[in-house]
Amino acid sequence: MQIAAHPYPFPFNGQPGPLGPGLMILGCDQAQLTETGGAGHAALANVERLQTGFSTSGWPVVFGRRGVGDFADLTPVVRARNDLRTVDRILELSDPLARPAIRPHSATTFCHAADNAFIGSDLSHILKIGGVQVLVFCGLVTDGSVHATMREANDRGFECLLVTDASASTRPAFHDTIISLTAFGNGLFGCVASTDAVLAAMAKVA
């Protein structure tokens, strides 16, 4: 598989992994959709395209819902900081604003309280059992869960790609900063590519 990505054709060794690359959809709840406005709506349309493509190819799709069962699950300082947030707040999963803004189709859904979705979740276990080695990231918000989870995945040795038009931030400048430093230095955190580039590469593999 080869996706026309920047700064190099992705993945680095052309190997998508035994069961195919995994699509990691993060965020995408009602609150984040509202807070990211038009950019968020546009991103979600591309998330849907990616999800359809991965499902059709029979490749793994993982959907992360950020939130807690109860605010008592947050340590006191995390809870106090969350109370200060005017935007991008961690919600209780039962809150209507925490409901997914897209349908997860056949995705494996997991919940996480931290922007780094590996913290305190079963994400690494799911990915290991699924034999996932390559991850394609999309969702909301670019500078929050998307970047933090991708950085941790990169540290863990996953080959990672950020889909630039299938992710969005509450501030366009934040989105642009993350894309730029992701690709810096021959892919500091991984590669970046458009939804069209990902789907074009998938069509060739099919």
Binding site: F12, V77, R81, D88, D115, N116, A148, D155, A173
Partner: protein, 233 residues
């Protein structure tokens, strides 16, 4: 032992620490990756032909902050990014992408093998050298908590608050800072004691970290941090 007033805080993006008062036993200074390979002439970044002026600019502020933290009696932790000599902890894609520059991790450079433990380039610059009793955490990734004993050692000592500085602001510093906040520590990033190769990346990352009240921790400038620490002398 100094008297701690009820309102003892560092002036930051929020009065820090948020849930308790500033005290040496609960606070550590963590200095990230002030290694020759990043911020010294002849190190890896320099050998790649990148301008190290911005990274070098962090050396003096970090040294001042270390001095203030030592006088205040804080626990001091230094991190180094790098790998075992046999490279068993080096992700294949990380080795591959760094080799595309022409000089990858593990390869022989002018100051020894790049980012390999025990080599000169991997070690901390003399201006920021650890003292006896301070610890060094060697890490194979960007986040200081990934595949290290850092969290365990902080918890064992009852550390709740972390003052964070070092390089690079857009990579290992922000990764460690954010994870610290999400793991339940209260981190304070001293923005003028950190820097990146690209100043736009530095500025952009500082905006992200300080937005919306500080999603993962507090930010402050060096003078505010030193003023706060002096009260603990």
């Amino acid at each position: 032992m100094s008297q701690v007033s009820g309102a003892q805080k560092i002036e930051a993006s929020y009065p820090w620490p948020l849930c308790n008062t500033l005290s040496a036993p609960r606070t550590a200074l963590i200095i990230i990756d002030m290694q020759r390979d990043f911020c010294a002439p002849g190190g890896w970044v320099d050998q790649l032909g990148e301008d190290i002026a911005n990274l070098r600019a962090a050396v003096a502020p970090v040294a001042r902050l270390m001095d203030a933290a030592r006088k205040a009696g804080l626990w001091i932790v230094h991190t180094r990014e790098g790998h075992r000599p046999d490279l068993v902890d080096l992700n294949p894609n990380k080795q591959w992408r760094t080799r595309q520059h022409g000089l990858g991790i593990g390869d022989q450079g002018a100051q020894g093998r790049i980012l390999v433990r025990g080599q000169t380039g991997h070690d901390i610059v003399p201006e920021c050298a650890p003292l006896d009793g301070e610890i060094i955490v060697d890490k194979p990734g960007k986040g200081g908590f990934f595949a290290t004993g850092l969290e365990r050692r902080l918890r064992a000592r009852g550390i709740e608050n972390l003052i964070v500085c070092g390089v690079t602001s857009d990579c290992c510093v922000q990764s460690t800072f954010r994870d610290a906040g999400e793991l339940g520590f209260d981190p304070l990033l001293v923005v003028t004691a950190t820097s990146a190769v690209d100043p736009d990346h530095h500025a952009g990352m500082m905006s992200i970290l300080s937005a919306f009240g500080g999603r993962w921790g507090a930010t402050a400038d060096l003078d505010a941090a030193i003023t706060g620490l002096k009260a603990l002398d």
